[in-house]
């Protein structure tokens, strides 16, 4: 394994290979790699002058194509200098392997010299979000990538995590009307800073416009305060992408002008600290022989039914804390 100082130097010089290897290190499941990764993150600077954009939506909604077009638009309009994209694909729960095919739909962007795209398997953790995504963002930002996209498959709970990683959370929706749209999880819609009804082309165009109306209506019933803008887009016909780019820009500018931007990042740091704390505790509990000795009797009792589950859990915490 490479010397961390050298790796950091190469990352600061924006070396593609070093970046890629750093992300591998961050994602590794080996404790020794964890330590190295922490060391690396410790020496890399924190860059604040960046924009992180989360893109989520169900499989097939067109996330990758959308990012490719939005990214190309940002570059061509000189609204971004260097763009990085992190995509997360589900690992198979059975075999553990994965097929990482997001880049197929981002070829135009992938060929650009100022772009870095890295697909990662989610390893079945944190509801669809690769464990290392947060830290990978930091590495990419240190390397001078000022605009970062994070793409995840929308499977419900994962959105909470992506939304907690980014400055602007864009939710992509399929055009659909009638009963279907009502099944959209309200909680997820409320996380969104921007909602895009994609595939507004051909026969679906009318349906997309209707859906946009319905979504806007549903928000107007809510209490006052922030309502996400609802836009339509056709990634296929490359229409509406510029408009969305500008909306994202406005949103970020507004966040910055009313001091929400940094405030949100601070809140996110706290959120991730708590997530990580639970994670560390869990891992420690899994490995530490003393913990095992303390908890195993309780585990047995629960299995036999001689002790209630929540009572046993509370008892375990008491034991651990004393």
């Amino acid at each position: 394994m490479m010397d961390i100082q050298t790796l950091a130097q190469q990352i600061l010089a924006s070396d593609r290979k070093a970046l890629a290897q750093a992300i591998t290190l961050i994602e590794s499941s080996l404790p020794i790699h964890r330590l190295k990764a922490e060391e690396l993150l410790g020496v890399l600077p924190h860059s604040q002058d960046t924009v992180r954009i989360g893109i989520s939506g169900i499989p097939g909604v067109g996330k990758s194509t959308f990012i490719s077009q939005l990214g190309s638009w940002l570059l061509s309009k000189k609204k971004a200098r260097k763009i990085a994209v992190l995509t997360v694909d589900p690992s198979s729960p059975l075999e553990g392997g994965s097929i990482l095919a997001d880049k197929l739909r981002m070829q135009e962007l992938a060929r650009h010299p100022d772009v870095f795209i890295r697909p990662s398997p989610n390893l079945g953790t944190l509801g669809g979000l690769a464990r290392g995504t947060r830290e990978s963002i930091q590495v990419l930002e240190a390397a001078g990538f000022e605009t970062i996209f994070v793409e995840t498959v929308g499977v419900g709970q994962s959105e909470v995590h992506v939304a907690s990683l980014v400055d602007a959370f864009v939710l992509l929706q399929m055009p659909s009307t009638g009963d279907e749209w009502q099944t959209l999880k309200k909680g997820i819609l409320e996380l969104a800073d921007l909602i895009v009804v994609n595939k507004a082309d051909g026969e679906l165009k009318q349906e997309a416009l209707r859906m946009k109306k319905m979504l806007e209506l549903s928000f107007s019933y809510h209490e006052e305060g922030f309502h996400p803008a609802v836009l339509t887009c056709s990634s296929l016909e490359n229409e509406g992408v510029g408009n969305i780019g500008e909306q994202v820009e406005h949103f970020i500018a507004r966040q910055k002008s009313n001091h929400q931007f940094l405030e949100r990042r601070k809140m996110q740091n706290q959120f991730w600290f708590e997530e990580e704390l639970v994670w560390c505790l869990k891992e420690e509990m899994g490995h530490n022989p003393h913990v095992k000795k303390l908890i195993d009797p309780l585990r047995n009792k629960v299995r036999k039914g001689s002790l209630g589950i929540s009572a046993a859990a509370r008892r375990a915490v008491e034991l651990l804390l004393h």
Partner: protein, 710 residues
């Protein structure tokens, strides 16, 4: 004598089976059709069998009344390689040796509308077919071959406009007017989006081009087949016979709808529609498929109310399956091809290509091409196969199977109709998904030994002497093509060319213009294939389909296979040791769009626990290397089917070195002639997997390669 019934036979047969420990008197075919041990009159009654006759509706028994009795099928061998000059020499030899029609294979650069000197195609020029850049090349290709007498079939879809236009102009300059031309242009773009991937433009303008070609040829070239609606490539991509049948007929109907919607009379063009099926090793099923295809086509065409009976008669070319050929013990391929050729003949094909025994490795050599041709000549002239029309007609089994296939195909077509027709279904990825699923299932059945392939997964031979095969020196072809392009561009009237190209671009945005006619003007002025294509790309854009992949099909069938389990265990151990799973980029380089192998291996390796990155089609080595580095894969697996490996693999490895990515290994799979192994290994390739290598074996070899370095 006492009368016996089917029930008597059944109880007797069941007794025998019980003694032998078998359970059922029927097996399921790949298509999901039960194949019974015996058929009888009861089965014919059950399907309501009605006797019919060849040459008469519904044409189940053949498109012509006398069939081969007086006029045998056309022996038409698909060939083409290197330069037009080299291919011309080969064609003339074949015609002298008994071949009856030509079938031109173009190289992949031409297919994708690139001139030979384009930076994306150096590995592909002259490799899997002949390089054609302009009318000049086309004239050399048919030098000394009388185009008013010789029927010429051309496999061209993406760049159909410049290639067909060049052919017409070359004939014209040879003194043959276009109305005298006979032959076939493949012109079947739908299956390109489905399986073969040699498209250029998005589906909508591509369909317009198909219609333009049909409109033009049905007016000016009445003896020319304006399309060859192809199922062959679906079968090669892994489709079973029912899927191939259904989607081919579905494609045909879509074309007919397209052209009639433009106001052309059905009887004006439909008699010139032709078909192309693949014929695999399921002998009985394949005969039934051709009979079913004719019946189904007749039925489906009636909604268009043709008056000319020829409008609803399906005429077809067939090719024996390349997929069924093995690299191992290659003389077995002669036997396979013979069986397949017999099925095509018994099914009533109009023309036939028999594969050469070395087709799994390379383009046919002179020797293997002769044996392939002779296979047909022997069937035609030594055997009694052509004496009797539809000898299987009335067979309990064959008539039942024919009907069951029709029913199965109708079910698949219903799904397509519900999706709004073939174009929409293809855009939604429906047919592709079914085909890929069938392919993964088929591969798993071979790898786990359920399906026998002699010399591959059973009865393997000790390594025998390598075949002598044809090797194209791609560098020389490239030089020659570049030189003639240079001469062409220097000597032509540039103003005239640019003007014609501008007209062509303008025609692309004018739905009333006929693009074939406009392309002919450009080609006549000596525009190149690449320039004519570029003129259209300006308006239409270049299209790249996004890929779908099937997961867990392979693993499901393999989970009890010991080698699969071993590989799975090793992958898990790797993961524990290295903190992540082995990660591979499965890449396709150059213009080769055959991606069944790449997809099957990708889905198989993922099922074994690999993290698999999929490279887009048509990558150049530099792009693959960048993707491999960014994704930090352990290994790049290149799938190569079109012979460009000797150019592109060294480039890939050089590029990896240049980028300092020494840690990334390279493995290669697909159609690699054994005598290239040494060369590739010396270039730094870590392992080579020939056709038919079981996926767990590939996985284990890759793991060995990775474990040895760390």
């Amino acid at each position: 004598m006492k009368t016996f019934w089917r029930s008597d036979w059944e109880s007797l047969a069941k007794d025998e089976l019980r003694r032998e420990g078998a359970e059922s008197l029927s097996r399921e075919s790949q298509e999901g059709i039960p194949i019974q041990a015996l058929y009888s009159q009861d089965d014919l009654d059950a399907i309501g069998f009605v006797e019919s006759f060849p040459g008469l509706p519904p044409y189940t028994r053949g498109p012509r009344a006398s069939m081969y009795f007086n006029r045998p099928w056309t022996i038409r061998q698909y060939a083409g390689f290197s330069t037009a000059r080299e291919s011309n020499t080969f064609y003339r030899q074949c015609l002298a040796a008994g071949q009856k029609g030509l079938s031109v294979a173009f190289d992949l650069a031409t297919h994708r509308g690139y001139d030979s000197d384009h930076p994306r195609v150096p590995g592909d020029v002259g490799k899997a077919g002949v390089a054609i850049d302009s009318v000049e090349d086309m004239k050399i290709l048919f030098d000394g071959i009388p185009l008013d007498k010789m029927s010429v079939s051309m496999t061209m879809n993406g760049a159909v406009l410049p290639v067909l236009a060049s052919f017409i102009v070359a004939a014209e300059e040879q003194g043959v007017p276009q109305e005298k031309l006979t032959g076939t242009i493949q012109n079947d773009i739908l299956k390109e989006y489905m399986v073969r991937n040699t498209y250029i433009f998005p589906p909508e303008p591509s369909m317009r081009i198909v219609a333009d070609v049909i409109a033009y040829t049905s007016q000016h070239m009445r003896k020319f087949n304006n399309i060859s609606i192809s199922g062959y490539h679906m079968q090669e991509a892994g489709a079973d016979s029912a899927i191939e049948l259904a989607y081919t007929i579905g494609d045909g109907i879509e074309y007919v709808r397209l052209v009639t919607e433009r106001g052309l009379d059905i009887d004006h063009f439909a008699p010139r529609l032709s078909f192309f099926f693949g014929i695999g090793m399921n002998f009985l099923m394949e005969i039934a498929k051709l009979r079913a295809a004719r019946t189904l086509w007749y039925e489906k065409m009636q909604v268009f109310h043709p008056k000319d009976p020829r409008s609803s008669i399906l005429r077809t070319h067939c090719q024996t399956s390349g997929y069924s050929l093995a690299e191992q013990d290659p003389y077995n391929n002669v036997v396979r091809t013979t069986i397949e050729a017999m099925a095509a003949v018994l099914g009533g094909t109009q023309s036939l290509h028999t594969n050469a025994l070395d087709e799994a490795l390379a383009l046919p050599s002179e020797f293997s091409a002769r044996i392939a041709r002779n296979t047909q000549l022997i069937l035609m002239e030594e055997s009694d196969l052509s004496f009797c029309v539809d000898p299987f007609g009335g067979s309990y089994m064959m008539e039942t199977l024919t009907r069951q296939l029709i029913d199965k195909a109708k079910m698949l077509l219903k799904e397509i109709d519900e999706a709004g027709g073939m174009t929409k279904a293809i855009l939604a990825g429906i047919p592709k998904l079914h085909i890929e699923e069938a392919a993964a299932r088929k591969q798993a059945k071979i790898d786990n030994g359920t399906n026998t392939i002699v010399g591959v997964n059973k009865y393997t031979a000790p390594t025998d002497k390598a075949l002598k095969i044809l090797d194209i020196n791609n560098k020389e072809v490239l030089q020659a093509q570049k030189a003639s392009l240079e001469t062409l561009r220097r000597t032509r009237d540039e103003k005239k060319v640019q003007n014609a190209l501008m007209q062509l671009s303008a025609g692309a945005s004018d739905p009333h213009a006929n693009l074939l006619q406009l392309t002919m003007e450009a080609m006549r002025a000596r525009a190149t294939v690449g320039e004519a294509t570029e003129a259209l790309v300006k308006v239409f854009g270049r299209y790249q389909a996004s890929s779908y992949s099937v997961k867990s099909v392979y693993g499901k069938f393999m989970k009890d296979n010991p080698q699969f389990k071993e590989a799975h265990r090793r992958v898990d151990a790797f993961n524990r040791k290295h903190g992540r799973r082995p990660r591979i980029l499965v890449a396709k380089l150059g213009q080769d769009g055959h991606d069944r192998g790449a997809k099957v291996i990708a889905s198989g390796l993922a099922d074994l626990g690999f993290d698999v990155d999929i490279g887009p089609l048509f990558q150049i080595p530099e792009e693959a290397v960048r993707q491999a580095i960014e994704n930090d894969v352990h290994v790049i697996g290149v799938s190569s089917q079109a012979g460009s490996h000797k150019t592109l693999i060294p480039q890939l490895i050089d590029c990896l070195k240049k980028e300092g990515a020494h840690q990334i290994k390279t493995v290669v799979g697909g159609v690699i002639p054994p005598h290239d192994y040494e060369f590739l290994l010396s270039q730094g390739v870590g392992a080579i997997f020939g056709p038919g290598t079981p996926i767990p074996e590939c996985a284990l070899a890759i793991l060995n390669l990775l474990e040895n370095q760390t």
